[in-house]
């Protein structure tokens, strides 16, 4: 697929990518996915998103070609590729901060490299395609274990690790009340992960009833539809005996609904880096001294965040893009133990040639969509 401007994508023939660095691999994609954060690109919100770029940072496939210095992969290996492009050796990578790599993104120092996520994230084409260039093939990609379902592997390249990471950022202790804003895939995985870390209550907030139903059945969560309340923050205070939650996770990010003006000035007029409605609700509904974890994606332009409340309440704000591969060994254990089944959230499997419809369905939230996969070959 290629981006043709806001709200427009189409399938085009492109050359098969070439090895550009000795540690590159070319991966033939078998399955990819559309992420909620892809919608920020699709809607034209991320600066330096160029017409002709291919999106997609969640994908798995087989190795088609390797560069001269690649040692850990061979042609034909089935691999899962974390959404982070990273070198494994810079100041940040060598401390485990793979999402903050300093060697892969000329366009910005504030963000690492991400496949198919604008030039602000390095200018790499992504995996909603038949072939993709994968830099640092000895560092990022990993052979898919024999026992692992391929659809689970796709969700392990971003959505599940990001949700799990969001729960970790909350520093949850036993019995904590955890609120998750957003019942998309990342929010649902964050809610599920909060239990794994010992939460005593997990509450999920959204405005799409079918997603809240999934939060109840998949993530065992209490739920509130914020549309039904005049003020969801007041409702959460009531629900927590006026204390507030110990931990609140923002799994919504830049296109949050709930305040028309905030949404208009960010998602539509692009005057803010993102609509901080969920983040502001998180700041206001967490208890004093509590922790707000942010894994929802925001653009680099300023946003109207209620920072005074965060300061006055003595909050700990923790956030980052997820360093995906760091999460995998433990997540593999949780999947094998039956605690997590990532592909339970897959609702749609979209052929690559119908990608434009896939984006519209996901953007407009039609057909009870939660997680759409993109299938490069036959379904």
């Amino acid at each position: 697929m290629v981006y043709r401007g806001p709200y427009k994508v189409r399938v085009e023939e492109k050359d098969i990518p070439k090895i550009e660095h000795p540690n590159d691999a070319i991966v033939r994609v078998s399955k990819g996915a559309i992420c909620g954060s892809d919608l920020h690109l699709y809607h034209g919100m991320m600066p330096d998103t160029r017409v002709g770029m291919t999106f997609g940072h969640e994908f798995v496939g087989s190795v088609h070609e390797v560069g001269s210095s690649v040692q850990n992969l061979t042609v034909g290996d089935r691999v899962m590729v974390p959404f982070n492009v990273y070198c494994g050796s810079c100041y940040f990578c060598s401390r485990g901060l793979y999402s903050n790599c300093h060697n892969v993104n000329p366009n910005a120092t504030a963000v690492g490299g991400i496949y198919g996520y604008s030039h602000t994230c390095g200018g790499y084409d992504g995996g909603q395609a038949e072939f993709v260039r994968v830099p640092f093939a000895d560092v990022g990609p990993f052979r898919i274990p024999e026992w692992m379902d391929e659809e689970d592997a796709v969700l392990l390249t971003d959505a599940l690790p990001t949700g799990y990471f969001g729960a970790q950022l909350g520093d949850i202790v036993e019995g904590d009340t955890v609120v998750v804003f957003g019942a998309g895939p990342v929010g649902l995985f964050a809610a599920k992960s909060a239990w794994i870390m010992g939460a005593g209550r997990v509450i999920v907030i959204d405005h799409l009833e079918y997603r809240l139903e999934k939060a109840r059945s998949f993530a065992h969560a209490e739920t509130y539809n914020f549309v039904e309340y005049e003020d969801i923050v007041v409702q959460l205070k009531k629900a927590t005996d006026y204390l507030g939650a110990d931990v609140v996770i923002d799994a919504v990010g830049a296109e949050a609904d709930g305040n028309f003006l905030q949404h208009l000035t960010s998602a539509k007029l692009k005057l803010q880096g993102g609509s901080p409605v969920a983040l502001n609700w998180a700041i206001d509904s967490v208890r004093k001294g509590g922790t707000v974890s942010v894994v929802g994606a925001y653009g680099p332009i300023f946003s109207a965040v209620k920072f005074g409340d965060a300061m006055n309440k003595g909050l700990t704000l923790r956030m980052n893009q997820c360093p995906v591969k760091r999460q995998w060994p433990r997540l593999f254990e949780h999947i094998r133990n039956g605690y997590l089944k990532p592909s339970d959230l897959v609702t749609h499997r979209i052929p690559l040639e119908h990608i434009a419809e896939g984006y519209h369905i996901f953007s407009a939230k039609l057909d009870n969509i939660i997680k759409p996969l993109v299938v490069a070959g036959p379904l």
């Binding site: 427009k8 017409v51 002709g52 000329p106 036993e174 039609l366």
Partner: protein, 195 residues
């Protein structure tokens, strides 16, 4: 449970369910209770084997002048080459990279470059055998095949208050362009008729 609400006294609210109940009811409850079992604890953890076998990576050849943030000491060794700077939008974007990432000018110029990029590509597409098609490229026909009405009608959805703007964002400029061309054509024809 205290008689007055929790924040006004020191006791925490009593747990609704005990650890034993939660462990029995929720698969995996408490498996990562110990922070040392959490893979991103502590946040910075030196010494992980990442698979890299270099101190500083070999440099990818720079086959065209690659724009970079002025906050970088040099061009990083690896970079994307998906869509090099080109045309008017390329000039705007190149200028944006003169400003640091902390400056609004940097990002707002990039956003302006994005809009110019989209428009110039739309216009150029009309000189090709595959002009942009707002119907197929927006996927809007899925409204009919994927329950566009029932997904919204009767549902408490917060996004209904702004979804009406989307067709204006996509179709508005096209309508304006068609109007401008029609107006110019009419004026031209009138002028010819008068003369």
């Amino acid at each position: 449970m205290p008689e007055v609400a929790t924040p006004y006294v020191s006791a925490k609210p009593a747990p609704r369910r005990s650890a034993e109940e939660l462990r029995a009811q929720i698969p995996g409850w408490g498996a990562d209770l110990d922070p040392s079992d959490r893979p991103s604890y502590p946040r910075e953890k030196p010494g992980i084997d990442t698979g890299s076998h270099w101190d500083f990576p070999e440099r990818q050849p720079e086959t065209y002048p690659r724009e970079r943030s002025v906050e970088h000491a040099f061009l990083p060794p690896v970079f994307g080459t998906s869509t090099p700077l080109a045309g008017v939008s390329g000039v705007i974007r190149k200028y944006a990279y003169k400003y640091g990432e902390g400056r609004a000018a940097h990002w707002l110029l990039l956003v302006a470059g994005d809009r110019v990029d989209a428009w110039t590509h739309h216009l150029r597409s009309f000189a090709t055998l595959r002009p942009d098609n707002p119907v197929t490229e927006t996927g809007v026909l899925s409204e009919f095949s994927r329950h566009g009405v029932s997904s919204r009608f009767g549902k408490k959805r917060a996004d209904k208050n702004h979804q009406w703007i989307d067709p204006i964002i996509v179709g508005g400029p096209w309508a304006l362009a068609v109007g401008a061309v029609a107006t110019a054509t009419l004026r031209y024809l009138r002028r010819r008729h008068i003369s």
